[in-house]
């Protein structure tokens, strides 16, 4: 059997195992072990324990649990609501302003947490009931939050970017900075669609009798500024090359926990333990996938599947544009079924050399890949954010959320197209701040 045929067999077996509903991490592991034993015999397993260990023995990975802990600390507090409240006080007069505030709050919270479901939950809990109360259509309000939440993995710090950086040996700091402008661009696109929709439907959104005074506008700021300061510090430390992502994340996590304790008076040990518990569960889940994905890619390259696949695609000699089109379609489909981290670990090491050979920038591709993964978060069957929203407002049916999220999904597709036409949206800022990339 040629490596390519074997590759197809591996893919089919993996899909079948995944569809049984076994955890993604263990599915990757059992398929890897199964093929090794079947082809090379039980003796090939002697190196497995060390490979598994080696896949996780990497200091840069530490930034993942640290950023998760930081996000968990903030998500457990009322910081999400305060953020939302602050934006609402400043933008309440804008037509459809509540949507703008919500999307803005999503993008800022994304910068604090690095996780999409956490962003959805933190802003949605407060924002969706408020929008319902003021007569915003359910589809629009839930769809906007579902989409706004996906910004969590694009706007730095982002867990998926860290994983991409490690998998492809690209600079995590550079990836973070590259995600910033595209993240703001998507936020703007989301806002533009919301306003357009509101205007076209002729919604007279009930502003109500509330008027916020300047005093009210100012007094909420001290609650959110420290968190914004932490984001700024982390970005500064990363792009200035002052500290590694793991160090910046560790210090950021400690500061956020301290801030949550001081500002929101969460002294209660049970509350603090809950933060650690939530963060521990999520990081173990992600790290376990990273570990078993190392086994999977060891198996794939041991049988020359990865290399043959790359050679085969390179041999097709399709134009770079067509190649990118196919890659995007492939990523979109993979993202519909698998969590972003798994998709990146399984595909990026193979795809990135091909993409580079076709003349594209790997940092830019990291951003495009992430937006593809964002789309997967708001599309069935595994659209995580849709279920998070459904959990917050059980009275809104899943199809309503889905249809509400659809236009925002198209905004993301538009975002990808814009990034292809103007790669500078992603590469300009890192090149400007960190000097031109050297490969």
């Amino acid at each position: 059997m040629s490596p390519l045929e074997l590759g197809i067999l591996v893919a089919v077996v993996l899909i079948i195992v995944l569809l049984t509903g076994a955890p993604v991490a263990f599915s990757l592991g059992i398929v890897a072990l199964g093929f090794l034993v079947a082809i090379e015999g039980p003796g090939s397993l002697t190196i497995i324990a060390e490979t598994f260990f080696g896949g996780l023995n990497e200091f840069a990975l530490l930034s993942i649990p640290m950023f998760i802990l930081m996000g968990a600390a903030i998500a457990s507090s009322r910081a999400g609501s305060d953020l939302y409240e602050a934006l609402e006080r400043w933008f309440y007069r804008v037509p459809g302003g509540l949507l703008i505030s919500n999307l803005g709050a999503c993008s800022i919270f994304a910068a604090l947490s690095g996780s999409s479901p956490a962003t959805c939950a933190a802003i949605g809990k407060m924002g969706i009931p408020e929008m319902q109360k003021r007569g915003y259509p359910n589809g629009l309000s839930t769809g906007a939050i579902a989409a706004g939440g996906t910004l969590g993995i694009l706007i730095p710090p982002s867990i998926t970017m860290i994983v991409y950086g490690i998998a492809t040996e690209t600079s995590i700091g550079r990836l973070f900075i590259a995600g910033l402008l595209p993240g703001l661009m998507l936020t703007a696109l989301f806002m533009a669609w919301s306003l357009f929709y509101a205007h076209r439907k002729g919604f007279r959104f009930n502003i109500g009798d509330t008027v916020y005074s300047w005093r009210q506008k100012i007094e909420i700021l001290p609650k959110i500024l420290p968190f914004l300061f932490i984001i700024a510090m982390i970005l500064w430390a990363l792009y200035g090359g002052v500290a590694t992502p793991s160090e910046a994340a560790g210090v950021g996590a400690l500061f956020c926990i301290v801030l949550v304790v001081v500002i929101y008076k969460m002294w209660n040990p049970a509350g603090l333990w809950e933060i650690v518990r939530v963060a521990m569960r999520e990081s173990v889940m992600i790290m376990m996938i990273i570990g078993t994905a190392a086994l999977f890619s060891y198996m794939m390259s041991n049988f020359y599947i990865t290399q043959s696949l790359a050679e085969w695609i390179a041999g097709l000699e399709v134009s770079p544009w067509l190649l990118l089109f196919y890659v995007n379609i492939f990523l979109l489909i993979a993202g519909l079924f698998l969590p972003p981290v798994a998709v990146i670990l399984m595909t990026a090491p193979t795809l990135v050399p091909i993409i580079e050979q076709a003349g594209y920038d790997p940092i830019w591709f990291g951003v495009v890949l992430t937006i593809n993964m964002e789309i997967g978060l708001i599309t069935p069957p595994v659209g995580l954010n849709l279920y998070v929203i459904n959990g917050i407002v059980p009275d809104v049916k899943l199809p309503t959320i889905l249809w509400g999220a659809l236009p925002f999904m198209l905004c993301m597709v538009l975002g990808i197209i814009l990034l292809m036409l103007f790669p500078g949206i992603a590469t300009w800022l890192p090149d400007h701040l960190m000097g031109a990339a050297q490969y």
């Binding site: 995944l18 049984t20 076994a22 263990f26 324990a49 521990m280 569960r281 990081s283």
Partner: protein
């Protein structure tokens, strides 16, 4: 049987607490390292390696707790659309496959640990960690994980638990 299920649940919880503690310790050590390196401008020797091993251990040791609380992400596309009987069979298949993987890794982990112990392996760094210490986390984590999968299989067969945690009302 029930005593076994309860015993393993306690074991998994203990593992979870240990993993949480490791996470907290690694935050503190990272901060100590940053303070040492950037404020006091002193060299750091053991911190980087220590937190890396700690995090790695937290991943292995935290996994049983994650299984106990159904936190491992999966694709539940097919189970949702199946009839209860078929869903039950599929849950058995999924858990058995996972158990097979976890038990194999636990077994391989024991061998790696033994090898490191008998040959007194050290890490090739300034700190020279005795490798059997971090290697211990893999057999412990995957050992308990395997026990937890056996407990899950028992719960499934005894109908203590719905397959994939999907109840009939969810499907309606």
């Amino acid at each position: 049987m029930n005593a076994y299920i309860r015993f393993v649940a306690i074991l998994s919880c203990l593992c979870g607490i240990a993993a949480g503690a490791m996470l907290v310790i690694s935050v503190l050590v990272v901060c100590q390292m940053v303070a040492l390196r950037y404020i006091l401008v002193e060299p750091t020797i053991w911190q980087t390696e220590f937190v890396t091993y700690l995090l790695l251990s937290a991943t292995f040791v935290g996994a049983p707790y994650l299984l106990l609380t159904k936190g491992h992400v999966n694709v539940d596309l097919v189970p949702i659309y199946l009839k209860p009987r078929a869903r039950f069979v599929l849950a058995l298949v999924a858990s058995t496959l996972s158990l097979l993987f976890c038990a194999t890794i636990a077994w391989l982990g024991v061998q790696l640990w033994l090898e490191a112990w008998e040959n007194s392996w050290y890490s090739d760094s300034m700190w020279e960690v005795r490798l059997w210490i971090p290697y211990l986390a893999m057999p412990i984590g995957f050992g308990v994980l395997s026990l937890q999968y056996i407990a899950d299989l028992f719960s499934l067969i005894l109908r203590h638990e719905m397959p994939f945690g999907i109840s009939e009302e969810d499907v309606e």
